[in-house]
Amino acid sequence: MSGVLVVMETKGAGWHRMSFEALAAGQTLAAGLGVECSAAVLGEGAAIAGLVTELATKKLAAAWAVGDTLLEQYTADGWVAALEQLIAEVKPKHVVFPHTYQVRDYAPALATRLGEVLIGDVTAIRVDAQSGSVFVRQWMQGKLNAEYRHGGAGGVCVASVQAGSFRADAVEEGECEVKAFAPKLEAGKIRTKPGEAFREAAQTVDLSSSAMIVSVGRGIGEQENLKLVEDLAAALGADVAASRPICDAGWLPMERQVGSSGQTVAPKLYVAVGISGAIQHLVGMKGAKTVIAINKDADAPIFEVADIGVVGDLFEVVPALTGAIQAARRDANQG
């Protein structure tokens, strides 16, 4: 009971992009604690053979291939049963996951089966002599940071790390042994029948290549007020985007949503109007070069990532800004 075990996630025939962020987190944690780090990948045996070989080129104690035909497609029941058995075999003190949608679907159940609680969506990990490993996660949509640690001396500490909190390119290279683990799974105990992934409609709005985006959130209040934002976008020559609640309400189509369940953007200019900046939104736009945030709440987390902030009434500031931009453009044309 000492090491760190990282559970990698696959996507299609390759890796989920967050897997190596989790691996970097696991290696860092293991180094801090002075213990070994290993990693595991689950799937149908032949399908994961290449992936586990790649994993064996990292600085790890072991690369575990957890293979079974019942793991060909993800199910919570399959993953929980296989990982419960792997953890009993490897006996890690810490298990680290990437905080993906898939992990959110099964890791809390796995933790429950182990009599543990998942410390989920972790933004930072610290190791100190007094507390051991300490995990930071956000409360109140990012308005507070809460530091957690595992309570008991025994047991397993399970944690998942937030997208973008650790750098995939920080993973240390090395060499390790590939170990096969054959979990005992029963088809009858897998209760859900998953279908293939599909997309509702071809995405027609591609915001990923937009140079300028004006994005709107709950602060806009009413659908009728959207015109303020559309006018600002028109004056700038920017695309209009939104945070999830605006698309949930049907005020703008889902394909204009920026965030973890929408598009990831990296424009030269991102103007966030009435957006509080919940982490689900921030992960979609933190690649923007310059962020201007207009919000009435000075404590809104959007100001954490903004280059220029305006604490004020968007219903006054936005029309004034639209007017000033139009005037500046007119001057430029006459000049």
Partner: protein, 259 residues
């Protein structure tokens, strides 16, 4: 069809949140409370399922102190048939803040067990602690299959078929037998408002209070809660709307160079 909807009462989005005096929780003294939004979508899905089926019962469930009854009443006003309130102390031993996710899920699962529901729905996560675990942990404790991030539920022979959200705009159908537990993603439906008639009727509906079991030993421990340290240097602009607009235009011209 009997559906239990587990809801949570959370601070309003615009609430000013301060760290509690002991540095390990949230100061709740000035907080205004509301129904957790993903849970409101779970309630909406339950009400629509019942309406489509033409019969059934929607039971709304919430754990917390006295104040959570306003959230339960709101659910009753929107159309839930009755409410179960698992009563916990306002603060100190046994209060929600002293319990970990596993312990809170245990309280809720215990209340669900008495109901023999076909379906248990809850929001995919709470807007306050954002752990996103309560539903999945309840499913494990109840020994029923589950799906998360659900947008639509359809009754099929032998159980249900749900549409769930995957990452990057992808979706997936999943089938499972009943009873089952689903965590609902926002946006699958439009939320309804309580009507005046609904609010009036809600007063007559049953609100059963159940004493919460004593808190178990926490598995995890909260060391410290603090406001985040700002990592980026944000230039804050002040003045009248026109002054701010002029300053912004200057930045857009000379720094961002888009005008």
């Amino acid at each position: 069809m009997k559906i239990v909807v587990a809801v949570k009462q959370v601070p309003e989005r615009d609430a000013v949140v301060r760290v509690a005096a002991d540095g390990r929780g949230v100061d709740e003294s000035d907080v205004a409370w509301t129904m957790n939004e993903p849970d409101a979508y779970a309630l909406e899905e339950a009400l629509q399922l019942k309406e489509r089926a033409g019969d059934g019962e929607v039971v709304v469930l919430c754990a917390g102190p006295e104040r959570v009854q306003s959230t339960l009443r709101e659910a009753l006003a929107k159309g839930a048939d009755r409410a179960v309130h698992v009563v916990t102390p306002e603060s100190g031993a046994g209060s929600l803040g002293e319990r970990d996710s596993l312990d809170v899920a245990r309280l809720l699962a215990e209340a669900v067990r008495g109901e023999t529901a076909d379906l248990v729905l809850t929001g995919l996560q709470s807007d306050d602690l954002g752990a996103g675990q309560t539903g999945v942990v309840m499913a494990e404790l109840l020994g029923v299959p589950h799906a998360t991030l659900v947008l639509q539920v359809e009754l099929v022979s032998g159980g249900i078929k749900v549409k769930r959200e995957l990452e990057d705009g992808w979706m997936q159908q999943v089938e499972m037998p009943l009873p089952a537990l689903l965590t609902v993603q926002s946006g699958g439906n439009r939320l309804r408002y309580a009507t005046l008639m609904g609010i009036k009727r809600a007063r007559q509906k049953e609100m059963r209070e159940v004493e919460a079991a004593a808190a178990g030993k926490r598995v995890d421990e909260i060391v410290r809660v603090s406001p985040p340290v700002r990592v980026k240097q944000t230039e804050m602009l002040t003045g009248s709307a026109d002054e701010i607009a002029a300053k912004l235009v200057e930045r857009l011209k000379f720094e961002v160079k888009v005008l």
